[in-house]
Every structure is written in structure tokens, then in C-alpha cells.
């Protein structure tokens, strides 16, 4: 269950690259335009590192590898929806549609992200026409990367079955959301009336749609773990330096204990997240469903608690707009609330318990 040498290298490479590329000042800019958050160049460079093709069956990529990358995206506070894009490339390859889009994502020529209804909203629905067209209805309330993406992979209910449909993002009505998270592009996507020609959609089993939901949940869990890890580092650094009453704040026992609790919370969340990634790789939907819910419960609570402690331990310093701290705290709260809240994950763990 330890990271392999390859995974450690992947994490290091992603971390170095993201540290250079990520401009958190852009997140703080007023009325930050999407354009300011990342450039086409960033996407191409990420693809060159292999980060968007990571999950393609032909690459032998695994969710365990993805986990490592997503954690680094969270740690960097990166705007790039690379986990989502890698997931779309994998699913397109698996169901055998949109080969060109899958290649474009893998090459970094374009971004594609999944669009699915939030777990507590009504599902997006698809109505098949006589000519093989699928007409969509419904709404995905919080699509991460939805504005920057050229393509959307829509998860829709089809009769008692499920469909995945690839649509040009411009064909949907996208509304930029103003959210707690300043570091990512999040859009509401209204798909009402979007017609998907035959060949651009496929009827899939409930299993694949469930995998998509699980993977999306996992991406937010690991993103939060990475962001919380960053906050731990920031906090440890701060309390070592900062002095009060003539001593470093970090030498006070209560501060130590708070920092230790943060570290343990984050370690537990990280282990649960990576365990869920391996469970997704196992292909067992029930095992994966449980593991994702475990991770969602443990990480949702643990990372938000860690963020809250980080803010407290930074004192007034962390309360300013100019400090990066709140960017991560905000991001973590959004990661906790979208694609399944801790409450929903816990309900799943009881609904499925023997």
C-alpha cells in the first residue's frame, strides 16, 4: 500500500511543475477571468508530463497513479482540472466514442471534463430519438473546469439505464459560479435540449456511471488532502518562526497538540483516499463504493478541521486576503461539499452495511 518509486517520481515531478506554474495571485484578482487562472500553454505542458493521459487503458494508468497527481493539484491550489480530464479520456476509450477528443485531451490540445448532476439533485436525463440522436435535459450544478473545457462528458439517465454523451461545451448553457473556491473554475451547466448525434454517445451499464461518480468524488477527496497538507506545512513553518511572549508559538504545548492533530487527520484522510483509488482499480464497484464513502467521511471532516485549525494557529496573519491560507481553506470546503457530502457518504456506509 506504499507508493511505488514510480509514483513517488510522478508526485515529485507534478509537484515541481505545479509549484512553478501555479499563480495563486490570479485567484485573488478581482473578478478573476477564467483566462487568468490558466493558459492553453499550461494545459499543453501538463499533457506533456502525461498528466491528462494518466488513466487511459492503453497507458496502463491506474487510479492509484491519478491519486498522486490529484493530491499535488490540491497542494498547489492549481486551477487545472487534470483529474477530471484524465477521467474523461479513460471513459471515452473504454466506451469507444470520441477517440479524437480523447487524443486531444491526452495531447493537451483541449480539455474535457465530466458533467454530472450533484448527488442530491435530479439526474440529467437523455431521450433517444429515432435517428439515434440523444436529446438531453437537466443540469449539472457544479462542473469543475466547466468554463475552460472544450468538451463535456455528460452522465445521463436513459430509461432504466445510463448513457455517457460527449458534447461540445459551447452547445450547453454554462454559467460561471461565484463560489467559496477562488482557485478553480466552477460552472453550472444546463443541458436542456442539447442534441447528441449517434456515435457521440453510448448506452453504458450502471456500473460505468457509478465509476464516474466514484472517481469524481475521489478527485475532490484527494484534492482536499493535498490542500490540507499544504496548510499543515504552512502552519508548521509559521509557528516555528512566529514569536509571542518571547518564544516561538510552536513551542507552546497546545499549539503542538493542535498541529499534531492536523497531521494525524490529514494522514488518515490521505490513507483513505489512496485506498479508495486502489479500490477503484480493483474494478469491484461495491468495494470501491465503500472505500470512496469511507474516504469522503474521514477526509471531509478531517481536512476541514485541519483547515480551521490552520487558520486559528495563524492568528490575524491568516485572516488577510493577501495570505494564501484562505484560498486553501475555501477550496477544501468546496471539495467537502460537492460530489457527495460527508453526510451522504455516511448514509451510504449505513445503507450498505450488512
Amino acid at each position: 500500500m506504499l507508493l511505488s518509486d514510480e509514483q513517488i517520481s510522478l508526485a515529485d515531478a507534478a509537484r515541481d511543475w505545479l509549484a512553478k506554474r501555479t499563480d495563486l495571485a490570479a485567484a485573488r484578482a478581482d473578478g478573476a477571468a477564467l483566462a487568468a487562472l490558466y493558459s492553453a500553454d499550461d494545459v499543453r505542458a501538463a499533457a506533456e508530463l502525461g498528466l491528462t493521459s494518466l488513466l487511459r487503458p492503453a497507458e496502463g494508468g491506474t487510479f492509484a497513479d491519478l491519486a498522486v497527481v490529484v493530491e499535488e493539484l490540491g497542494r498547489a491550489g492549481s486551477p487545472l482540472p487534470l483529474g477530471q480530464a484524465a477521467l474523461v479520456a479513460r471513459l471515452l476509450d473504454q466506451i469507444g466514442i470520441g477517440a479524437a477528443v480523447s487524443d486531444a485531451v491526452a495531447d493537451g490540445a483541449a480539455l474535457a471534463v465530466p458533467a454530472a448532476a450533484e448527488p442530491d439533485d435530479a439526474a440529467i436525463s437523455g431521450g433517444p430519438g429515432a435517428d439515434g440522436t440523444l436529446t438531453l435535459a437537466g443540469r449539472a450544478a457544479a462542473v469543475v473546469g466547466g468554463l475552460g473545457a472544450a468538451w463535456l462528458l455528460v452522465s445521463a439517465a436513459l430509461d432504466d439505464d445510463r448513457a455517457l454523451a460527449l458534447v461540445p461545451a459551447a452547445s450547453a448553457t454554462r454559467t460561471a459560479r461565484t463560489t467559496l473556491d477562488l482557485s478553480r473554475d466552477i460552472a453550472a451547466v444546463d443541458l436542456h435540449g442539447v442534441a447528441v448525434p449517434a456515435g457521440d454517445w453510448a448506452r453504458v451499464g450502471a456500473g460505468l456511471a457509478e465509476t464516474l461518480d466514484q472517481a469524481l468524488a475521489l478527485i475532490h477527496i484527494l484534492d482536499a488532502v493535498g490542500a490540507a497538507g499544504r496548510l499543515l506545512d504552512m502552519t508548521v513553518g509559521y509557528v516555528k518562526e512566529r514569536e509571542q511572549f518571547g518564544r516561538p508559538v510552536g513551542s507552546f504545548q497546545a499549539v503542538k497538540h493542535h498541529a499534531a492533530t492536523m497531521a494525524v487527520d490529514i494522514e488518515a484522510a490521505r490513507l483513505c483516499g489512496h485506498d479508495a483509488a486502489r479500490a477503484l482499480d480493483s474494478g469491484d464497484l461495491v468495494v470501491a463504493g465503500t472505500a470512496v464513502a469511507v474516504a469522503g467521511s474521514v477526509a471531509g471532516e478531517g481536512t476541514s478541521r485541519a483547515a480551521s485549525t490552520a487558520l486559528q494557529l495563524h492568528g490575524g496573519m491568516g485572516f488577510t486576503w493577501e495570505h494564501d491560507l484562505h484560498l486553501f481553506l475555501r477550496r477544501i470546503k468546496v471539495d467537502e461539499l460537492v460530489r457527495g457530502t460527508p453526510r451522504q457518504h455516511r448514509e451510504h456506509l449505513i445503507a450498505t452495511a450488512g
Binding site: 461565484t178 480551521s308 486576503w321 491560507l325 461539499l337 448514509e347
Partner: protein, 395 residues
Amino acid sequence: MSVDWGSGTELGEFRAQVRAFVAGHAPGRAARAGVRSPENAEELAELRRWIAALFEAGYFGADWPVEFGGDAGHDPRRDVVVAEEIARARAPMQLGGNALAASALIRFGSDEQQARLLPAIRSCDDLWCQLFSEPDAGSDLGGMRTRAVADGDDYVVTGQKVWTTNGHWADRGYLLARTDPDAPKHKGITAFAIDMDTPGIDVRPLRELTGTSDFNEVFLDGVRIPAAAVIGRPGQGWIVANASLAEERNGVSAAVVDLQLAWEDLHALAQKIEIDGRPALEQADVRQRFGALRAEIRACALLGQSSFTRWRAGRERVIDAPAGKLWFSELNLRLNEFAVDLLGARGILTEGDTDAVDSGRWQDAYLYARAYTIAGGSSEIMRNLIAERALGLPR
């Protein structure tokens, strides 16, 4: 759930008068969490009018000595009623800087200072800011570094202050600075009443994590102020400041009203939003949280009331004020975290988003909540104080 000293009684009638007055005079402005500054000159003018009206009506300043406009037979419980009613209307509170300065001037000011400065506080022609906190001192005021060096009949002040509410609007500043670097930590500090337009003062807005700018950094570079600006005696600043800080007695009562209103609004919201196809308020876990919060808000009211009553009776204990501050600030954080979590995925939308629930009020309050657990003595400082000075644990 407020202090509520009986309706129909003398205080109950007073409350009704205040409520009517507040309804008639309070400026309209968007309710936001926490201590917030006027956003423009118009809001500032409205604020001045409002505060002046409260003094004029005798609702503010009744606790002042008679010679400065106070009421000889003043019942301090009326101050609590006034604070509660202003909070209930979500109207602007007494300005912290003005209250603090008034308290210091009344106790320690020279005759000249009192004659010149107190009337302008009553009329709100003067807005005061408090220049205590420093970036490197935090909760440790003893670590203050801003220096005031005597030079002839003047002092020359250099240093930096932070978290200055209304600094950008203020006419006057209530400043603490170190005048004797060789004296023990708390003994070399002096209090000053300064004009904020004195050359060398640079006020820069400080943007909080909520995105708004209600505080400032204030840079003082060779600021020349006359010796007559000293409040009390040189070296007495620590005593002056502590006496005026200790004056603040109505904070918890007003804060409880805020909590109560927030609880009521959230409770109404929980009847509208659904979880698993049922109103959220029908879910037992949601009910339990609301029930616990209702009880904790009442406990907060009682802590405030007990502290106030003990103070009036001369039986105040060390634990009283810190216990109320801790309880309020941690409860306020819990309540607003719960609010955001209760909204689920909708909870991510904030002010400025057309679909944000209650215009993003809960997210704003959630982000702002940490201010209360940090400012005015952090939760850590409060617990140290209780442990060392109320329970007698060794330092």
C-alpha cells in the same frame, strides 16, 4: 432568549421605546457578519447621523459622568437593552474606537482633552480608531514595538499598527506607543489622542479573507505629536488601555442577539430546503444540531448576563469575561459551519452568485467567524487566563 428583564416593567417599557427609536432612525444597510466599516462616504455620513441621534436621545452616553452629558440615575442594564435592540435591528453598533476613547478620556483625560474631545464624540463629528494591535505582537500587547520618542515638547512616533477598524475614515486615533524602552514590558507604554491627519500617518486598507476591507494597516513614520496629546501620564498607557478595555460589558448580550437571529433564520431555512426528499428539519441529525445550538445560545446569554450582573454587584470573577468570550466565539463558528454544511452542494455559492442562498450570508459569516476566536484575545489566551488566573495553575 435575550437578557429580557421582564416586559411591562420599567426596563420592558424602556426596551419598547428603544425598539421604536431604532426602527425610526437606523440607517438601512446590508447585514454582514462582524465589525464592518462604511463602504462609502454616504454610508459614513449616515453612520455619523445615527450615532449622534443615539447620543442625542440619551441611549448612548447615559453612563457618562453628568458633567459630560451623562445621566446621574443611569441604570447600566439600560445599556444592555440598547445594545440588544440595535443588534436585533441589525443596525450599526456604537463604534468601538469611539467608546474606547471616550472611556479613556473620561477616566484619564485632561480637562482640556475632555472639553475638546468628548462633545465631538457625542455629536459623532469625530470618528476614532484604536491603534493598539501590531503585526508582531498579536495577542501579546507587551511585545509592542511602536516607539514614541520625546523631542522637546513633542513626541515623534514611528511604528506600525494593524487591524485598525475604520482607520481610513477616522478623524482621531487612540494610540499606544512605547515611550520607555528600558522599562519592564508593560510599564514603558504611553497612551495618546492623535489627529489622524497629522503628517507621517499612512493608512492602508487591509483586505480580509472575506474579500471586504474593514480594517487597515497604519504606518507611522516620524509622526510629530504634542505632549498635550498624552492621555493620563507617560508610562501609564497600559493602565489606561486596560481600564477602557474592561469597560466593554455589553458585547456578549448584543452578540447573543446576533446568534439568536441567525439561529431563527437558519431554522426557517431548514424548513424550506430538503434532504432526501424531506424538509431538512425533519431529519433527526439536523434536529439534534438545532436543539443543541438553541441550548448553547441560551447558555451564552446566561454567561453574558451573569458576568454583567456580577460586575454590577462588584462580584466579578476572573473566569467571567473570558468564559463568555470563548463560548460565544466558538459557538458562533460552530453555528456558521453548520449552516454552510447544511446547505450541501448549494453551500459553495457565495455573495455575487444569483443562486446563492440568502445572498451568501452564511458563507460570509463562516469565513468571518474565525475573527472572533482570534481577535480581542485569542481562544488560546482566554484559556491560559482562565487556567492561570482563575484556576491557579502554574505559569
